[in-house]
């Protein structure tokens, strides 16, 4: 079927091949990074549209995927648009409700509620701090790699991570349970 696809063919990798294989993963990355479905969609759309237009150049990168993921990160960090209207967690999307719908009970339900609470608390972080946590714990990069991506020193990465963990009440000198009443 690929012979029927439009241009953008570079070597063995077409933009379409790339999109089919990696778009779901990029969208998961974007939702974790932004915490908001609409924003994740906007960020990935903008990035992939640019990527498609200059696919020749991107496909020449050592790793087109790493390149595009980096574009997603930069787009998120440089997003100058309104967060107030976007930073909303749709009630119907809350994990606890999904779990209820599936009939989850007991420890598993508690586990889900905790993950849901932590996810909501991630929304209070600044973009850089959230990005550091996502890169460190979701992308599983080390601090040197994160520093390279963010264009800062590893010490700054550690500082951002430390502040973020404190904000989330996850620093080592604090209990791991998250106080539900804390909102900021």
């Amino acid at each position: 079927m690929h012979s029927l696809l439009p241009a953008c063919v570079i070597g063995d990798v077409t933009f379409e091949n790339f999109a089919v294989a990696r778009l779901p993963s990029l969208l998961r990355y974007a939702i974790v990074l932004t915490g908001n479905r609409d924003l994740a969609q906007d960020v990935v759309q903008e990035v992939l549209a640019r990527a498609q237009v200059k696919w020749k150049r991107i496909s020449e990168a050592d790793s087109p995927e790493a390149y595009v993921r980096r574009m997603v990160l930069n787009e998120y960090l440089s997003w100058r648009r309104s967060w107030a209207a976007r930073n909303v967690h749709a009630v119907g999307e809350r994990l606890v409700e999904l779990d209820d719908a599936r009939g989850g009970i007991g420890d598993h339900a508690n586990h889900v509620v905790e993950a849901d609470e932590l996810w909501n608390r991630l929304a209070v972080l600044g973009r850089k701090q959230r990005a550091v946590l996502v890169l460190r714990y979701y992308e599983q990069l080390d601090d040197d790699q994160i520093a390279d991506l963010l264009g800062c020193s590893p010490a700054t990465v550690r500082s951002n991570a430390s502040r973020a963990l404190k904000t989330l009440r996850l620093s080592s000198d604090r209990p791991n349970r998250i106080p539900v009443e804390e909102k900021s």
Partner: protein, 222 residues
């Protein structure tokens, strides 16, 4: 530390299912790319683009047809895209051979300004779709036109967005960000809240950020 890693990773992975539908996103990507191409005057074969969308959209639907996973009814997982760890960020080279660039002339300064105004006013993708239908343009053009109208003080033919109650304004977010960028953290916000007798650390962050942005110093050091 290990516990934090597990907790955070679990919370993040558990919410991957909130990701938008790939097929819908891909269709929009094609639409946007078309606009960008036109703007950049890049000669590119347009034939087959529609077929491409259909083929790709079909490819995204295949897992449904063959019984692939569907987490929470929202995320299609393709065999080629392992769900976690998503990144497998093939170690990003210290000096990538190609650097991402955001200075492409997709938008003129005036267009960029208009688009920023559009988003700063709280309008989003859905609004862009409505406007595009009303004006019979593509979404990108609709957002830009709407932004220019907002800059000119004109009203748009759709309802203005309503910020959900309880959410911080953009200005407050900027102030809170200034607070963190200066090196202060949550503990400092708690201290300031006590010092200034503010109801929450969030209020302290906003008040402190405002002072920082005005060049004033705070009563405590980060």
């Amino acid at each position: 530390m290990i516990e934090h890693r597990d907790q955070l990773r679990e919370a993040m992975v558990a919410h991957e299912h909130l990701a938008p539908e790939p097929a819908a996103v891909y269709a929009r990507v094609q639409e946007l790319a078309k606009t960008y191409r036109r703007r950049r005057l890049v000669a590119q074969t347009a034939s087959g683009a529609v077929l491409g969308v259909a083929v790709i959209a079909g490819a995204f639907q295949i897992p449904h047809l063959v019984g692939g996973q569907n987490n929470g009814g929202s995320t299609v997982v393709l065999p080629a895209a392992p769900s976690t760890p998503s990144a497998a960020p093939s170690p990003v080279p210290a000096e990538p051979s190609v650097e991402p660039s955001y200075d492409d002339p997709e938008f003129t300064d005036a267009e960029e300004k208009a688009r920023n105004k559009y988003f700063d006013e709280g309008y989003g993708l859905d609004d862009g779709e409505k406007l595009a239908k009303i004006w019979k343009t593509d979404i990108t053009a609709a957002k830009t036109r709407a932004g220019q109208m907002l800059l000119d003080g004109k009203k748009l033919p759709i309802k203005p967005p309503v910020a959900p109650p309880g959410l911080p304004s953009t200005a407050q977010e900027a102030q809170a960000e200034a607070f963190f960028d200066k090196g202060y953290d949550f503990d400092d916000a708690e201290r300031l809240a006590r010092l200034w007798k503010l109801p929450t650390p969030w209020d302290a962050k906003v008040a402190a950020g405002k002072k920082i942005m005005a060049g004033e110093t705070l009563p405590i050091q980060p």
